[in-house]
Structures are given as structure tokens and as C-alpha cells.
Symmetry: C2
Subunit: 407 residues, 2 copies
């Protein structure tokens, strides 16, 4: 356990800065049973911020393990109807959501059939929450909670205090005035997004060891950062930490090969994918290679038509507070904010001009990729050059040696 | 932690004997986050018994504490709609339910306003689950899970192993063949219920220190024990342990005073009620006295019209495996099976001839008390004589000095 002060300050940040809980608003917390101390701190912070109700949905990886091991094929993808009611209610109530990550037992699923792991997903719920985020129907954020098991994965020993220190730095709670630090940091990221939007790049090109990938941007692609706005106008910061400037690509346009630059610990799956390489033709994954976990990725990219196409491009430079810890966290919330990443699966409607609030069909027509999954993996680092491609085919450096070029 | 063998054997008993989970049946587990090891053992046992899906609803007393402290008046009694969906689904699916008790932090609610504690209850859910049990719409059981905090309340020190030993004896898992021990035990209890039913008592009379109470039985009152049968014919044992023979009284007929013989740890409230005395006139509680916790009881008995009337009479003798441990468990599941008890609030439809499956109005007309609460408290012991009253007013001894008289 950290000093209680740190836990409480992170909880405050989650409530006041992250989900930005408003007086009279309901809050839902989603996390694992092992995250209870953090859920409890968030509950207190939310009531203090004036929340009208706070509930928590504890998930249990052990029960999910049993499901993967024993469940019939249709049970693997079934959404218990009460989870739908819960999210439908939160949307209707214009609620807030805090999700907690940090895998307390990273090896729990080892030995299970990887294809079954990859197929296990509550499809109806995934589709609904995907739309929810895309349409700004909830103010939400994701934070992390260090545990002994997670610390052991990171450091080889259960040094939770060290992990807390790293998370503290990653979320800028070590700053003299964290709220001011966040204000300045968000301004910097939004400035970068503005510079990218001015250029109207038609594609991004990634070049590095094992990587030569060009991804087209949709017409109307918008670069965004840090702050989202709900459909009713509340600002919130969906990831704490966040270091990325991101957009959604044209799902029809990806050519080449990309090699992941960091191991990927699949969220909710506890499976580590190492040395991932994806090949693309006409926007579609045509080959998946990895030294571990390849079958989970293969199963994921077959879940639906959009699963094998790209949904996000995100740029992160070497100034990242997460990257500067020098730590591989084995947790997507943190690792994806350490370096540039891309995601296959669901696109981001708010990153296409005019797409928010449209029907799924209309969003698809505008170039928002549709899928029940959205899996980020890391592709950046000092050896990877990232360029913007202009309308006439010229290359404009965006990242070189992890340094941001586009001022 | 107990030896894992004991945890697993108790989980097996919960699944195979208690809820009697059938192949293809869904199982829902309801418990506190601190009960996770037991929930996980039950999940494994249920999949092994052929369950088609296992889910768990973890509750968190800390969040409930925040609600009691900060919630608006209507939030205290609000049922989140997804909990209704969950139970409606389980009824529709003819599911099984295992609930886990054992308070890991018995003092958590101390210092809170007792009247607010007493009013805090999800009313819509309580009404639904009350009907669910009354109409046999689910096969269910309750088991307990020892924790350090609970052991400290019982023994003054966190001796979990000693508490496990006591629970092991109470649920007959120390028998050479527990399944055979349960078979014989259930037969004994059912025999007692038969003897009581033959007598057709019109009332029960309790006499002891501070107690002189007569409670009328409804016409058609049936004594039952141990085993319930669902509406579709599956037998299950709702309490593990169970030592009681019970019926539902006429809610209009209770006269006199009764003094509780054991402290009562209010389920879900973490509040200890000591030296409880209730006075009755025309079936209704007219005065509540206690040296601690009186205000919670007062608030409970005002929740609705039926809350101040009796819903259950249960007889337990000195042979009880729970009573023989000599331990006050501060947990109703165990303590109510150590000695005779009565309950105010909701009556038991299956204990009135022909009442099961009728509408709430029809059940009420037959004498089933209707309420959102059902709170058991202990009234038996060696100093309390319990007699059956015959139609012509004669008294027939049922319990003397904790020994069963009616053979």
C-alpha cells in the first residue's frame, strides 16, 4: 500500500480531473475485487464532490478463468442482461464512470486455450460501450491501482511501493501543484493537436526496424488529445495518465508491416503478446506473427469485420512522463502513454468531423471503423521515424529519435 | 485461511447439497468483496456440477457506509435498476443462488446515525426477493466465510483457523461422511415438523426471564424444516447450517413481551443489538427496548405496515450442532441455528397451506405477513420454556431446558 495520502490524491484526481464528477451526478466504478481500496477511495472522493450515488461493479478474473475453461461457446460471448441495464441506466442518467486497471495476477490465464481467451468477450456490452464512448454518452476516466502481483510482473519482486512511485510520477502527482501541472500538460497536447490539424495530412508513415507502414487518414480526420467532451458538454479526461495526440484512420487504407516495440499485456485477458508483427493490405490485417500470444490476436481480429482494420493512430514523444519512468508497466493504460501506438478495431467517432451522434451506419460511411474490440499496441520509440504525408505525397517529420518535430 | 480442503468441501456442500445446482443451470453468487476466496471455490464447484454460467455480485460495505453517511433520503432506499434485471433474469432462467455471510468488519458502521442505518434498504429489491423466496422461484442457500475481522469479533483475536473449525462443526463437515450426516439430520428435523403438524397447535407460548409471549398460529399453518422445494420441483437447503423447525404465525396475534437471549448482529447492517425486548399487542410491536441498537430496530419496524408484526417462529433444541459449539457467532445464519428464534417482518408463504404461488393480496388474506424486511432474533435457551397451545387452551411442552419434548 502507498501512503494513504497518495491513494486519496489519485482518487481525487480521478474524480475531479478525470471523470470530472458533477454535483448530483451518479458514479459507477468498474474494477477487479483486488482494486477495492482504490474503489473505496474514489467513492469517498465522489461523495465529497457532490455525487448523488456511487456504485461499484467488481469483476473477478478467477470467475472469468472458469468461464474460459468450462463455458459453452455461446457463454463466452454472452452479456448478462443486467450489465446492459446498468450501462443503459448510466447513459440515461448522464452518469460518470471510473474504470480501474492493473492486473493483480498477470499469469492467471496461462495454460488456457488462447483462441478461447481471444473469443471471450461480452459482445453486446462491448458494442454498447463502444458506441457510448464514441457518442460522448458518459464522462469517464481510467486510472490504475498497483498491487503486489502487478509489481512482481514489472520488477520481478512485489515492490508495490516502487510501483506506486512510478505511477505517481506518470500521473504527475509528484508535481508541486498537480492540477496546475495537468492544466499545462493538457494545453501542450492540445497545441500539438492543433498543429497536426493545420497540416491536413492524408496519411501517416511509420519507418523503423521491422516497420514500414503507411496508414491513410479519413477525409475529415481530426487530431485530438487529453480532453473529451460529453454530448451534454462536460469535459473529462478519459485516461490518467494521458500523453497522446490521436486520431482515427481510414479503415480501408493501411499498407505494409508494423512491428510492436513493446510487449503488450492484453487488457482483460492477462495474456502477454511479445514481438507482435502485423501485415496490412488494403487496410486489413493479412498476417499476425508473435513469439507469444499470437493466437489471441488472431482470434480477436476475427471477431467481426472491423476487428482486422485500424481504429486509432496515437502519437507520443519522449517527453512523456510515463515514458520517462523507463518502465514497462505491462498495462495498456500506462504503456500506450509511454510511446506512440496504434489500435486495431473500433474507430473514434469524435475524430471524424461531424460523426458524433450519428447512427452506426452513418458513422461507418464517414470512415469510422466498427468493431466490438479496440486493442492498442505500441509502435513508437527512438528508432521509429513517423512522418505526415501531405496531399502531394511529401513527407513531413513528426517524430524523430522520440523528439516532437512539428512546432 | 483454512486448509484449502475445508474451503473446497464447504463450497461443494453449498453447490451440491445447499443450492443443489443442476446441470445446465445458471448460478449467481452474492457476497462481499472480502468473500472472494469462497466465491471462487463455489464457482469451480458449480462448473464441476455442470452449471452453464456462474456470475458473482460483490457488495462493498464501505460504499454502503458512504451511502448511509452522505446519501439523500431517497437514495437510501433506491434499488439500482440493474439489480432488478439481474434477479428477474435469474427467476426467468430458473437459476440458483448462493449467498455468503460473515462480516469482515463488524464495527464499520459504528458512529453512523442508527435511524439512517435502519432505513437503508433497497426496497424494490427486498420486495422482489421476498416474493422470490416465498414462491420458490430460485434454488438458493446461504453459507458463511470466516475472516480475520469476524474471528476478532467472536474470539477477541483474529484466530480465523479457530472460527473455521467452529464453522466446520456447525455445518457437519467434521463428520466422517458429511452427506450421510446431512441426510440423517434432515430426516430428524422433518420428523419433528411432522410431530408438530399432527398436533395442530393454535398458538405457541414462550416463558422465561423477561419473556411471557403468546403467538397465534394461522389456520393452515404448516411446520417445515431444512428442505425447500422450488416451484419446478428442485429440492434445496436454504441455510447451511440449518437446525430449525419453523412456521409462519398469524400476524394479528401476538401478546406479551419477549426478551432476546443472545446479542443480534443485524445482517447487512453491522450493528449489534443487545438486550432487545419487544412488547406486542394485537400482533403489533408496541415498544422496542435495547441497551444498544434500539434505534435501528425502531426504524426497521416502521419501514412498512408488516414490519412491526411477526413473520416466523422457529424451534431449535440443545442438540443443535451450532449451539453445541458454545460460540456466539455474531452472525444470524449461525446464531439463529443455535437456539429458538422468531422474526418480525415478512412471513413464509410455504408455511401456510395453499399460499405458495398466490398473489401478494391472496397470500395476505391467508395470513402471510407482508413486509420488505425479515429480521430474526434469538429467544431460546435452557431457561425458556416453549409450549404448544391446543385448541382447548391446554399447554403441551415442546422445549424444556433446551431438550425437545414432543416425540
Amino acid at each position: 500500500m502507498p501512503d494513504p495520502g497518495l491513494l486519496d490524491r489519485y482518487a481525487e484526481l480521478a474524480v475531479r480531473v478525470g471523470a470530472n464528477v458533477q454535483p448530483g451526478q451518479e458514479l459507477e466504478i468498474i474494477c477487479l475485487v483486488e482494486h477495492a481500496p482504490m474503489a473505496r477511495a474514489i467513492s469517498k472522493a465522489a461523495w465529497n464532490a457532490g455525487a448523488s450515488y456511487v456504485s461499484v461493479s467488481y469483476r473477478d478474473q478467477h470467475l472469468k478463468r472458469d468461464l474460459i475453461e468450462h463455458g459453452a461457446e455461446d457463454a463466452l460471448t454472452w452479456t448478462p442482461p443486467w450489465l446492459m441495464t446498468q450501462f443503459e441506466h448510466m447513459v440515461e442518467a448522464k452518469g460518470a464512470l471510473v474504470e480501474i486497471t492493473g492486473n493483480p495476477e498477470p499469469d492467471l490465464y496461462s495454460g488456457l486455450d488462447e483462441a478461447r481467451i481471444g473469443r471471450t468477450r461480452m459482445l453486446e456490452l462491448a458494442e454498447f460501450t463502444g458506441r457510448m464512448t464514441n457518442d460522448g454518452l458518459m464522462s469517464w476516466t481510467i486510472v490504475s491501482f498497483p498491487t503486489e502481483g502487478w509489481a512482481t510482473r514489472v520488477f520481478g519482486e512485489p515492490d508495490v511501493e516502487r510501483l506506486w512511485k512510478a505511477v505517481e510520477a506518470a500521473v504527475r502527482l509528484d508535481a508541486a501543484d498537480p492540477v496546475e501541472a495537468w492544466r499545462a500538460h493538457i494545453a501542450k497536447l492540445l497545441h500539438r493537436a492543433d498543429r497536426l490539424n493545420e497540416r491536413r495530412f492524408t496519411a501517416l508513415r511509420y519507418r523503423g526496424p521491422g516497420t514500414d507502414l503507411t496508414v491513410g487518414l479519413a477525409e475529415g480526420s481530426i487530431w485530438r488529445a487529453a480532453e473529451f467532451t460529453t454530448a451534454w458538454g462536460t469535459k473529462h479526461i478519459p485516461n490518467l495518465p494521458t500523453e497522446e495526440v490521436f486520431t482515427t484512420p481510414d479503415p480501408q487504407k493501411a499498407e505494409g508491416v508494423v512491428r510492436s516495440t513493446r510487449p503488450l499485456s492484453l487488457p482483460g485477458h492477462g495474456i502477454v503478446v511479445r514481438d507482435l508483427e502485423l501485415e496490412f493490405e488494403n487496410g486489413r490485417v493479412t498476417d499476425v506473427r508473435a513469439s507469444s500470444g499470437a493466437d489471441v490476436i488472431r482470434a480477436q481480429t476475427k471477431l467481426d469485420e472491423g476487428a482486422a482494420r485500424l481504429g486509432e493512430l496515437a502519437l507520443v514523444d519522449g517527453e512523456s512522463a510515463v515514458g520517462q519512468t523507463g518502465i514497462t508497466f505491462w498495462d495498456t493504460l500506462l504503456d500506450e502513454n509511454a510511446t506512440s501506438h496504434i489500435a486495431y478495431g473500433r474507430g473514434i467517432a469524435m475524430c471524424i468531423e461531424g460523426a458524433m451522434g450519428l447512427s452506426p451506419e452513418e458513422q461507418r460511411a464517414l470512415g469510422v471503423n466498427e468493431s466490438v474490440i479496440h486493442t492498442d499496441f505500441m509502435v513508437g520509440g527512438p528508432e521509429v521515424d513517423i512522418d505526415g504525408v501531405t496531399g502531394d505525397g511529401a513527407l513531413v517529420p513528426i517524430l524523430r529519435d522520440d523528439v516532437w518535430q512539428l512546432t
